[in-house]
């Protein structure tokens, strides 16, 4: 029995471990769909659900599935993400052998059109030098808590060259993405890259599994024939003659493809069953950078319902149907409804916010009122004082 067989036989047993799979996390996602939210950050480093960043979900899913070797394709602006992931210790990836490896962006080629494919190509040597036989790629713009073990078994059983993880879009989705048509057994019959996606269409969640040689030869072929775009030049073109299967993920998943999607996905976490599926699954916690903040202080007169509250907050006022990030302060008489208040927000005495997304360090001064709609939340940029 060879090494691979040996581990795969164990998958149904106590301690599933994708030992033969190397993870790749691509953080260079196009973030133009998110407007000001991502003006100074990548989607991957967007704060989410009180204490997380989007990248935490892909990284944690990998680690919980048993992947111990993860390459992180860095975006151009990498400081916030380097500061968030650091050594990978909080994801158990700070190791002497394997563990986390940063793959920084390749410097610009003279005159050549740029695209996300280039960074894959520039790091092929690293990917190929590792001993794992499979690559599992996750492009960090989706929220899910996935166990990759059944997907790997699916990939093996279908004898696919490439497996794409899909789920039906929960809403119309205005961002560019991959939509697949598949047979009942999962065999992909058509792949399209569309600038917008209709509700219910099977769209890719950015998770791909392939044998490493298949993946690398695809990247090489695509880039060396002038390709720049991961979706079009690799998935559509270079994988044309490959057997591609789609695996439908049936748990919760959302693409963070617009300000509204960002708002609604945060709000979805207020449903206790989704909160539990995402965060309280035995053996599948979502890891994030530890900040070690003090517990929340609910002061006399506070009134907080249907709300997610991160540590470090101090609450005197009223909060309903909202998400409070670390270190938010809600003053006496303030009322926060259907809102997302990011780190260190301060809603002062008798101020009110309704359907508002406040970026970090926003101050809403005493008595001020901000009001959006659930279908059109008002956004307040970083460090703004209103």
């Amino acid at each position: 029995m060879d090494r691979r067989e040996f581990w795969l036989n164990r998958l149904d047993e106590v301690n599933p471990k994708l030992k033969n799979v190397m993870g790749l996390v691509d953080l260079q996602q196009d973030s133009s769909y998110l407007g000001d939210l991502t003006k100074k950050r990548t989607i991957a480093s967007l704060p989410f659900a009180g204490r997380y960043r989007i990248v935490d979900f892909a990284l944690s899913s990998m680690v919980n599935s048993g992947i111990r070797n993860v390459g992180v394709l860095l975006p151009e602006k990498s400081r916030s993400i380097l500061d968030h992931i650091r050594s990978g210790k909080d994801w158990d990836l700070a190791r002497h052998h394997k563990g986390l490896c940063y793959l920084p962006p390749a410097p610009a080629d003279n005159g050549r059109k740029e695209g996300d494919l280039k960074n894959y190509y520039a790091n092929l040597d690293f990917i190929e030098s590792n001993s794992e036989e499979y690559v599992l790629l996750a492009r960090a713009d989706c929220i899910y808590n996935m166990d990759f073990n059944p997907i790997m078994r699916f990939h093996e059983n279908t004898r696919a060259d490439v497996t794409i993880v899909v789920s039906p879009a929960a809403h119309d989705d205005m961002a560019r993405g991959i939509v697949v048509k598949m047979a009942e057994n999962g065999l992909v019959e058509d792949i399209t890259v569309k600038p917008d996606i209709k509700k219910g269409e099977m769209r890719a969640l950015g998770v791909y599994i392939a044998r490493k040689d298949c993946f690398c030869s695809g990247v090489r072929r695509a880039y060396e024939h002038g390709g720049t775009d991961f979706r079009v030049d690799l998935v559509l073109e270079a994988f044309k003659n490959r057997t591609i299967f789609a695996y439908e993920h049936r748990g919760f998943s959302r693409r963070i493809c617009s300000m509204l999607a960002y708002y609604e996905t945060n709000m979805a976490m207020l449903q206790p069953d989704i909160w539990k599926e995402m965060f309280m699954r035995e053996g599948h916690p979502i890891f994030t950078k530890v900040k070690d903040m003090a517990p929340v202080q609910y002061k006399e007169g506070s009134n907080v319902t249907n709300t997610l509250v991160a540590n470090g907050c101090e609450i005197y006022g009223t909060v309903e149907n909202s998400v409070l990030f670390r270190g938010v302060k809600i003053a006496p008489g303030a009322v926060v409804r259907d809102s997302i208040i990011m780190q260190n927000g301060f809603i002062q005495d008798n101020a009110r916010t309704n359907c508002v997304v406040c970026d970090k360090n926003v101050v809403v001064s005493a008595g001020k009122v901000l009001e959006g709609a659930k279908t059109y939340p008002v956004f307040v940029g970083k460090n703004v004082r209103i």
Partner: protein, 384 residues
Amino acid sequence: MKINCLAMILAGGQGSRLGALTKNIAKPAVPFGGKYRIIDFPLSNCANSGIERVGVLTQYRPFELHNYVGNGNAWDLDGRYGGVFILPPYQSTEGADWYRGTADAIYQNLNFIEMSDPSYVLILSGDHIYSMDYSEMLDLHRRKNADATIGVIEVPWSEASRFGIMETDESGRIEKFVEKPKEPKSNLASMGIYIFTASYLKRYLVMDAKDKSSEHDFGKNVIPAMLADRGRLFSFPFHGYWKDVGTIESLWQANMDFLAAKPPIDISGDRRIRSANQPVPPHYMGPEARVTSSIVNEGSIVFGTVEHSIISTGVRVAEGARVTNSVVMPFAVIGEGAVVDHAIIGQHTNIMAGAQVIGSEGAIAVTGEDELVTPESEARKAAV
């Protein structure tokens, strides 16, 4: 590599005065303030004072403490010359014995101290809640060229006879030290925090170990012996919040102190109290939750009513449940319609729907770890 100052935390035995709460864990591992454990306070104080190497002396279930503390990484104590070492009694060429007293516990670990080779040894206890900069005390120790320096705090005169009381001269030099004097002549109480010059400490510990009449206790034997020899012992006055949490009542009271409009310690500032965090999400307040004057930690979920209470990591307070004036320790469940008042609910304990755990000031109700409290079972009350 010679280090500057080594801290030794006397984590003690089973901490029987905390009763059911320490059935399965050592006292320093008892949860505190919703997020912390008691030992987080001395460990964070060490880290915030630049002391990076810490021994924790315990003979009771050391691996659970080890499992929590790890190598001190959560407190940034895991540097090359640092580290947190759990020190149970061990067998040496000279034989082996259980710890017979605070001084004996240190004596039995003289080898560990020699291995660390510090200039000074800081001795702490593992059951106090406070935030203190030991480097200021160390600085005083050096400036006074002292043999030993003892942290002291003013206590009400009426309570002075419960403490080790120091009489000092104008310079702060200690002239007399009396354990629990009937007629105290000072209200400067020992906090159980000592800095010794390492060589001086070693000399007295070796002498004490040979003394068969000794109880091998710092307060009762070692400090008096040093004073008898006219050692240079100084007091270091401390003015902040300091609370012994060795009993159920004091543990409950200290928790309640943190519910004040202004908490007694700044636990989140520059000198923050750190702890080993679990990967849990922000807590969730349900549609009917009613929480006031309380502290709630990550990972919990509240559907009922919480007033003037501490809700720790991973606790669930179900619909219609009512928790008042209580400390609910990590991963406990308060079932539907259950009532908890003036109580400490141990870790992982399940208060079933409709059950009641009701104590009163001066007679705090306690449930232990992993218990199941049904509406029929009467919750055990703590002996006060």
